[in-house]
Amino acid sequence: MIKFFLMVNKQGQTRLSRYYEHVEINKRAILEAEVIKNCLSRSKDECSFIEYKDFKLVYRQYAALFIVVGIDQTENEMAVYELIHNFVEVLDKYFSRVIMFNLDRVHIILDEMVLNGCIVETNRNRILAPLFVLDKVAEG
């Protein structure tokens, strides 16, 4: 099961966070800080999975952006690793430019893909379908 999904930049600022398990607000900040520190401290040739407390972190770096996913012991690390990439591909397809000004859309995309800690949709066209409908409504 996926426990949380974080997007962080290289300076350690959280861009997006989504929790699938209740974590207290003030604990989130601490958790994020530690997770980021853990990920940033690792070099490129080290493996992308980190054991942290009683769960695991899977992270992937895209230029200045880190995406970190917290999972429990039962999840398949590699599958999640590729999920991140799939997510990024979807973002790529939808946004042609910088995404950070359209965070709401990113949230929608993420919610289409991951629900209650489960991977529910990975088909790119289907993930984007509701968004396109929304856009049409906005234009019309």
């Binding site: 080290e46 398949n76 690390e77 590699m78 990439h85 629900l115 209650n116 529910v120 990975t122 088909n123």
Partner: protein, 995 residues
């Protein structure tokens, strides 16, 4: 959009209101709507599984949806449900296999592909479900072999996501009932992973290997060099994973090296969580496999000093218990303890070194308890050391208390010591009340040596302390006090009441009252140990101040004696593990010669090895030594648990437990030994031998079973000849089982012999008195060639009775038939869950009855059980009884007034509208249906409203209020139990739909 929101956040209470809407959406023409509806249902299932029970068939429909997305969404629900109860969904295995086949075969449209792999996450999900379904179930697993093979074959494209699928495949293959071809392929896959230069794959490979190694330790041998490399990998995560792997393959021979590696890692590691985890593992390994006393103590020392104060408190506790209880062998004990004392003295030798508090506590306890074992060291020296520790500032007051306790113990065995006097002087004026307390205590003890000896006998930590809770020995003291005019003791609440009443009036005697209570309450608070108490009253005289102090003393005394009190608890595993150690050694050394060495000594390798490689090779041979026999070792482990269990069970259970263990053991032997059989037959026998030896040791009273077993041993010429040898050698209770572990060689065929037992229709019937009560049909539960089980439910007014008929179908008597129901969270069996029939005569029927109660409400659940009997070998049959909520619901008679009162007092309610069919349009007709089918009691009908009442046995009421309007029946339940209305609502819906 609304559906998306529903599936993300939704309050539990609103489900009944929204559920029909969402159910409608399941039939929507757009696939996306259907998919979202299923997702919303999944959310409902997560938060309130009870409320969506009635639409399980809709999930099935979703699974067969023509759109893949909808189907995929329903898989989440199934994964969850199968996780909770895999046996209920075995019939769906075929569907899942077909789906996976289609997905793997690329039948999905191309936009599901991810990097040209068809719906990889869907595949992973399906594989997981299959793994859960096929676990320990050969028949279900049979269905999957093909598709798993196919998946393995297809996933050969070089991409990360295919590796993810492969990993899942491997895991599934090793979870389900094994098939050798697949295992081979999976092992190859793992090899690819581990050898991959990509670090992520390597990690995955190690993880897979860790998982697999529990089933097949030989695989580790193939990859030993890679594992060694990973052990020195610069990435700490890889290292940690490797250690995890090593932890699984540890045995008596490689424990030293592995623990050393772990300690090395521990020293580098900083993260608290990792340390706690690892320290626990090291301590476990050290206790289980310690090859020598010295090593054990040293390892534990390292654990304590590195682990510091974050170690789990179980570790020092277990360690001390182990030391205190010792082993069967007195000499071993002595050595172990002596070595511990010596090593601690050496450690304390180094001045100014900081040790963690927990370590200091362990040290002081050991020194206090066993200082006299070391004869060449003057107790005075120890005292001086402890004294200097006490003065250090970093020592917490808890640790100081431990140290003081040790000082007291040592002082009791030495004549007057200068250090002790000094210590008393110093701490009598200490600001720490606890220390001061101890100092005073020590002073008084020093003045009265005889008392001290009786209070602190040497090596008494294991003796039980008998606690006299009634404090009868204080009676004299109390009587004396009363004689002197003290007020009698009153309990606290009474005093308070009196105080209140006295406050109103004038208080004439304030001091007398408080004085008396302080004395007597001190007596009450200090219930710890009678010896302590008597000593307290001896030395402290009668003044109230000292009396107060006495209470404190006693408490502390209690703290220190904690070990003593726990000493009589069931002996721990570590001890047993130790006891087996000598037996493990010979079998291990044998295998070391056979399995451990060959890979290390491959001739062509040896020639071209560099220095470094040689070192690694050496490390490898030490690490993997004895691995070949680790099947034997793991069996030893099993035997350990068996022996451990025996000690806790009563004698009757013991034999039965043994039977269970035996059948377990049988299974594992069959599967574990399968692959090993050709390669290391000698080992196997050896380890088997030792296991059995330990079993025999543990269960001397099972020898009567031996007799039984022998009596029933049918002469199968081949088997018997082998058996005889072995029987004469070890005369074991598991003789029949023994033969079974050779399953590859002789196929024992019980069925062949029992064929002669004809199919006599032994349909039992109820006794007359029970016949009159409402009861179900007599249905068959399970049967074998020898025995059949029938069940009849009898719905008594006050309970549900399960009548179980055990019929013997053979022409000879069956012995030692026992019937056991397993414990489940839903049901409770009153009285005992087992029944024993010493003998069931040929072709006759015995019966037993069990009174069952539902303790956790559910609409339907399974009560599993098993029946075991002795024929030519131990046999156990599994069966399960399905019990529904309605079995436990009885009408509840009450008046309308009572109903009103009760209604208001109940808090949990559930409302729901259900459609009424045309034939039952009137309220009374509807209520009649409910009354007849659900055994509800009709209390009253007023206009278009009706009230009903029932109870869940033994006495949980549930009230129902019904109202009709425009073809709808509005049901409103109230009950003190939250889950009961949900369950009843479901039943009502079902009944109304049926009629």
């Amino acid at each position: 959009m609304a559906l998306t929101v529903v599936s993300q956040i939704f309050p539990r209470e609103m489900i009944p209101a929204v559920l029909p809407l969402i159910e409608d959406k399941l039939q929507h023409s757009k696939e996306i709507i259907r998919r979202k509806a299923v997702q919303a249902l999944y959310k409902f299932y997560l938060i309130a599984p009870n409320q969506v029970q009635h639409i399980h068939d809709k999930f099935r429909k979703a699974l067969c949806d023509r759109d893949a997305g909808v189907m995929a969404a329903s898989l989440h629900i199934y994964l969850q449900m199968i996780k909770e109860n895999s046996s209920g969904y075995k019939d769906l295995t075929g569907s899942f296999v077909t789906i996976l086949k289609q997905v793997v075969g690329g039948k999905l449209s191309a936009d599901f592909n991810y990097h040209s792999v068809p719906a990889p996450w869907l595949q992973i999900q399906l594989l997981r479900i299959l793994g859960l379904l096929g676990k320990d179930d050969p028949r279900t697993s049979e269905l999957m072999y093909d598709v798993l093979d196919e998946s393995l074959r297809r996933a050969e494209i070089n991409h990360n996501i295919t590796y993810a699928i492969l990993f899942e495949c491997v895991q599934t293959i090793y979870t389900i009932y094994p098939k050798s071809e697949l295992l081979e392929k999976a092992a190859k896959c793992i090899g690819k992973f581990v050898l991959s230069p990509k670090i992520n794959l390597k990690y995955l490979g190690l993880k897979a290997l860790t998982y697999v190694i529990q089933q097949d330790p030989n695989l580790a041998l193939q990859h030993q060099m890679t594992i060694i490399e990973c052990l020195d990998h610069p990435d700490p995560i890889i290292k940690r994973e490797t250690l995890e792997l090593l932890y699984r393959i540890t045995n008596g021979q490689n424990v030293i090296v592995i623990v050393q590696k772990m300690l090395d890692y521990l020293k580098e590691s900083k993260e608290e969580y990792a340390i706690i985890n690892l320290v626990g593992k090291i301590a476990e390994l050290a206790e289980k496999y310690a090859p020598s006393n010295e090593w054990f103590i040293q390892t534990m020392n390292a654990v304590f000093s590195v682990g510091g104060d974050v170690v789990h408190s179980d570790i020092p506790n277990n360690f001390l218990r182990l030391l205190a209880e010792g082993f069967d062998d007195g000499k071993e004990d002595y050595q172990l303890r002596m070595y511990a004392v010596q090593s601690y003295l050496a450690l304390l030798e180094e001045e100014d070194k900081l040790y963690p508090q927990k370590f200091l506590q362990v040290m002081s306890w050991v020194l206090g308890e066993y200082f006299s074992l070391v004869t060449d060291v003057d107790p005075e020296v120890i005292l001086i050391k402890l004294h200097s520790l006490l003065k250090k500032t970093f020592v917490t007051s808890e640790t100081k208390a431990w140290i003081m306790a040790a000082v007291t113990k040592i002082a009791s065995h030495t004549s007057c010591s200068k250090t002790v006097d000094e210590l008393i002087q110093e701490f009598s004026s200490s600001l720490d009340t606890c220390l001061r307390q101890y100092a005073f205590e020590l002073k008084h003890l020093c003045e009265d040596k005889a008392l001290m000896k009786s209070l602190l006998p040497f090596d008494a930590s294991c003796n039980d302390l008998v606690v006299d809770a009634s404090l009868s020995f204080l009676d004299g003291f109390v009587a004396e006090g009363l004689g002197h005019g003290a007020a009698p003791y009153k309990p606290h609440h009474q005093r308070q009441e009196e105080k209140l009443s006295q406050e109103k009036a004038l208080n004439f005697e304030p001091y007398g009252l408080s004085f008396a209570s302080s004395v007597s309450s001190s007596g009450v608070t200090g219930r710890q140990s009678p010896t302590g108490l008597s000593f307290g009253s001896d030395t402290s005289g009668n003044s109230p101040e000292m009396g107060h102090k006495e209470a404190n003393t006693l408490k502390l005394e209690g703290v220190r004696k904690l070990w003593g009190k726990e000493g009589y608890l069931p002996k721990k595993e570590n001890k047993v593990g130790k006891g087996n150690e000598p037996e493990a050694a010979p079998c291990g050394s044998l295998s070391a010669g056979q399995v451990g060495e060959p890979p290390a000594l491959q001739p062509d390798q040896g020639a071209s090895l560099s220095e470094e490689d040689k070192e690694k090779q050496q490390l490898a041979s030490t690490l993997f030594v004895g691995l070949g026999s680790s099947a034997g070792v793991s069996l030893m482990g099993k035997a350990d648990t068996a022996t451990q269990k025996f000690k806790r069970k009563s004698k009757i259970n013991e034999t039965q437990q043994l039977n269970e263990e035996a059948s377990d053991f049988q299974n594992s032997a069959a599967s574990d030994f399968g692959p090993l059989l050709d390669t290391v037959p000698i080992n196997m026998e050896d380890s088997e031998g030792s296991t059995h030896r330990s079993l025999r040791k543990a269960s001397p009273c099972s020898s009567d079973i031996v007799e039984d077993n022998l009596a029933f041993e049918t002469p199968q010429s081949l088997r018997k000849s082998v058996l005889d040898d072995r029987l004469s050698a070890n005369r074991l209770s598991q003789s029949s089982l023994f033969a079974d572990s050779n399953i590859e060689i002789f196929q024992p065929s019980p069925s062949a012999q029992c064929d002669s037992a004809s199919e006599i229709p032994l349909v039992p019937s109820l006794s007359e008195e029970l016949e009159e009560l409402p009861h179900s049909e007599v249905v068959g539960l399970c049967q074998s060639d020898a025995l059949a089980l029938h069940l009849c439910k009898v719905w008594r007014d006050d309970s549900l009775l399960l009548i179980i008929f055990v019929s013997n179908k053979t022409t000879s008597a069956l012995h030692a038939v026992n019937l056991v129901f397993e414990e489940t969270e839903h049901f409770q069996i009153l009285e005992s869950a087992t029944s024993q029939f010493p003998v069931i005569e040929a072709e006759s029927v015995e019966h037993c009855q069990k009174c069952v109660r539902m303790i956790k409400v559910c609409t339907q659940a399974i009560l599993p059980g098993s029946v075991g009997y002795q024929s030519e070998m131990e046999t156990r049959l599994q069966f399960s009884v399905t019990l529904s909520l309605m079995d436990f619901i009885r009408p509840m008679e009450m008046t309308t007034e009572d109903f009103g009162k009760l209604w208001l007092s109940l808090s949990n309610d559930v409302k729901q509208n259900i459609k009424m069919s045309s034939c039952q349009d009137s309220l009374s007709a509807a209520l009649d249906t409910l009354q007849q089918k659900l055994k509800l009691h009709r209390v009253d009908i007023i206009g278009n409203e009706g009230i009903l009442a029932c109870q869940l046995l033994p006495s949980v009421p549930c009230l129902l209020h019904c109202r009709t309007h425009s073809g709808l029946l509005a049901l409103w339940f109230r009950s003190p139990c939250a889950a009961l209305p949900d369950g009843l609502l479901y039943q009502c819906q079902k009944v109304m739909e049926e009629s």
